[in-house]
Amino acid sequence: MSFRLDQVSLTHANGFVALRGISLAASPGERIAVIGPSGAGKTTLLRLLGAALRPSAGKLSMLGVDPWALSERELRKLRARIGVVHQAPPLPQRQRVVTAVLAGRLGQWPLWKSLASLVYPLDIAGAREVLARLEVGDRLFDRCDRLSGGQLQRVSLARTLYQRPDLILADEPVSALDPTLARQAVRTLLADAGARGATLVASLHAIDLALSEFPRIVGIRDGCIAFDLPAAEVSEPLLRELYAAECPGSAALPTLANTPHFDARPVDVPGASPGACC
């Protein structure tokens, strides 16, 4: 098992119930798309899987262990095997792209190597290779604040590719990219996971992208799992019901073509993603 959630619930400190009684499991190498309206709990679910949030109830096992029963050192080792692609790329404005990408392996590098790499980047070839896969190889030595939102999001993806994690958690990883680039970037991510046998869980706003690229689709609504089906079995009525609250009576479901792109520069507004179709 890559991960297993058993009746997991999560209540935020302000009393908001983000997830209720979620049960979900994935075997190594599975590729899962999580879809659902804004505020349904997609981000919370991914943060839970990334051991960044502690569940309020239920059992959780990541890569065979319960992260919250581990020692500090073991937890760090576990986290080094989980790669997270954040919705707003968490890259310091004044850091160079090469350093930002190499930072993906800080959990695996010994201390001396992490420090030395600040003075002189120690794996320029490696950073260049992952950036080239996302077609931003030419920005290797640029500073992050010189990049566009779309380039920044691809650098953030490149960092996760460089990390080579066993479990990739991607939260709206292509929200700042145009449809062609978005599809390309998702395929790069899928190919990387496939080649290494890693598990990939991605939350996506664009349904068509999810259905066409991912074999397994999990629909989330109001903190519960609405459905968990192979992509071929996800029907249009099912989708309409999933998004019913977000676009009552509206005809269009969120797709690549009509998803408004928003700037993926780091901002402190977690709920910044605009409603997909309302």
């Binding site: 310091p92 800080l106 959990g107 002189y120 260049r128 290797l140």
Partner: protein, 537 residues
Amino acid sequence: MAEAVALHDPAARQRGTALLLGLAVLWPLLVVADFRPGEIFEIRNLKTVGAFLAGFLPPETGAEFLAYLVRATLETLAIATAGMALAFLLALPLVSLSTRALAAAEIGPGPGYARAQFLHYGLRALLTVLRGIPELVWALLFVRVFGLGPAAGVLALALGYGGMLTKVYSEILESGDTRPARAILEAGGGRLQALFYGLLPGAARELTSYTVYRWECAVRASVVMGFVGAGGLGQLMDQAMKMLNGGEASTILLTFLLLVLAADALSHFLRQQVGAAGTVGRKAGFGVSACAIAGLVLLAVVSSFGALDIHFGALLMRESMGLIGDFAVSFFPPDLSLPWLSRVAYGTLETLAISATGTLLAVLGGFVLAFPASGRYGRLAGQFSRFLLNALRSIPELVWATLTVLSVGLGPFAGVLALALHTTGVLGRLFAETLQNAPPAARDALVDAGARPVVAFLYGTLPEVMPQLLAYTLYRWEMNIRMAAILGFVGAGGLGQLLYFELSLFRYAEACTVIAAMLLLSIVVDAASSEVRRRLR
């Protein structure tokens, strides 16, 4: 496409060069600053300091001494308040004359443009001189004219702070929206009308806040000016130190600490009030509390002048004016002989070296203390380190210098230590604030990917806060250069030591050269720092 990018870091050569250059500059500075950290721990020095510090306990609490202490404390407060009041009176006309946004001749340019330009630049030059000569030097000079006592302190504050207030007031006025003032000028209004109706409404809050902050600085400055005989707590401290009376010194130091913290708190409170004014009340304008505060300020000023009992009439008599004139004339022409110039040049270099080394040590110390102070290692460590930083900060550099001179002997190294101790307090607090306010996303993401906290800080937080830390450091270094120029008054090297020596031998022509060097240094630092600030932006 990717093939176009080289496999070596293009910035490496530049970084290496910068590092080597930095070391090449730093090394001689350390030598000039006489940096010998081993000196602190030498048995002989430790014994001297130990014996002196042992005398600190118990603090002197005799009734007679306490009466002196209370009087000196009140005198210090009165000097600061009266000096600020005079500085404010001096600044008012200078601001309205030197602020460009208030000059009708700038429109067009219209008639009288040349005269307005002349006035503008002439006043700016005068202000540069007023500001560029440290208030402690003004105090030292005034003590020679008016004798020991608070009059010299008040006048020194008036001149130095008058120049400072004018510059900052003008900057505040011109950084805001100047269009209302322009509209009034275009409608035929005069300077004062444009000031009161066009600029003040937008800038009043910031101006008041800055004035209160300056008063807080004036309290610290008036403590220090006592060391050159301008009355107040400093004079008392100077006497205690000269007689190596540890008990008295510790009582006075505690009073310093309380006074500075109280002034700090009062200034913070008042500035908060100013900041909140108009946002909570229903009406803008003068309410009851504003009138009460204005009345209290006026009362404080009047009673300060009353308490100090300075006979300004007598100062302005023809006889004393003549004396002042003679005294001023005796400084000219300055001694420009080659040997003296080279000694002054070395003094300037020494001043720079003291400031650079002291600031660098303070950056290290401040950085180390900022981590616990920002609350990373629990509440207890946080409170303790914040208290330590406050204590370091509230003792002025010059007072630290009197202590470090005892520890490592006369000379520049004592100045380095004094600057380092005080600046550690200042920078540590600023660094801690910066760390607390740093955006956490980048660091948290690295921790979630399994990075060690130290490494996550270096990769995630440091790049975000670096510009701020650098800006604080440069700003403090700039202040420390000015401070290093006067630390010599208590024997801690640099230009100040030269000046103090020459003045006590009545060699005014030589002293004039030193003052000119201080002025020049201040102008150069001013220009350099505004240039650096412009580039960092």
